[in-house]
Amino acid sequence: GAGVSQSPSNKVTEKGKDVELRCDPISGHTALYWYRQSLGQGLEFLIYFQGNSAPDKSGLPSDRFSAERTGGSVSTLTIQRTQQEDSAVYLCASSARAVGAEKLFFGSGTQLSVL
């Protein structure tokens, strides 16, 4: 597609349920990032994928969070046993190369609400 696509755009779930968030990066972009934006806070880095290299998972807040990227393209962020503090906008971004040489292209995000 022309841009980074995320789905769903909104997700309401009950505490304790698992959720999956999807990101389709721009075709050909090798780098993919997940960020979380909570109300009144900046963008919190979660995880970074670059090509076939091992992902940088240093930002995942707990072992309830995981992400995978299949075939170097689509990525899925999974949150298990959701908690109310997981409520936030989850943003995906992709770039043609590692950050520092190319800019990030962001999706419109998934608004997650945990009741």
């Binding site: 009144g40 900046g42 880095f45 950050v99 962001f106």
Partner: protein
Amino acid sequence: AQSVSQHNHHVILSEAASLELGCNYSYGGTVNLFWYVQYPGQHLQLLLKYFSGDPLVKGIKGFEAEFIKSKFSFNLRKPSVQWSDTAEYFCAVKPGGYNKLIFGAGTRLAVHP
């Protein structure tokens, strides 16, 4: 740990006023610096970036930012704002040797006609 501080959370200006948004980071090594902007209802997009060379960087829509290494700062400026500049502005830093961009908390700018 590396961090980015944006001093103003909300700024309200009248059209034609000058703008300066503060950004400071905590990292002693080489950095790449960015300002991103999110207009209402739109995606985050790159406004300008600094990698090396001239510390005064010009971006889109008349924005510029100055990297002052001694102050660990990368303030965003515009001499005369327009109503269409109403948006949220994020400063971001990529420390050398790291993959991730570290973002500040953002500054919401409202420009009144």
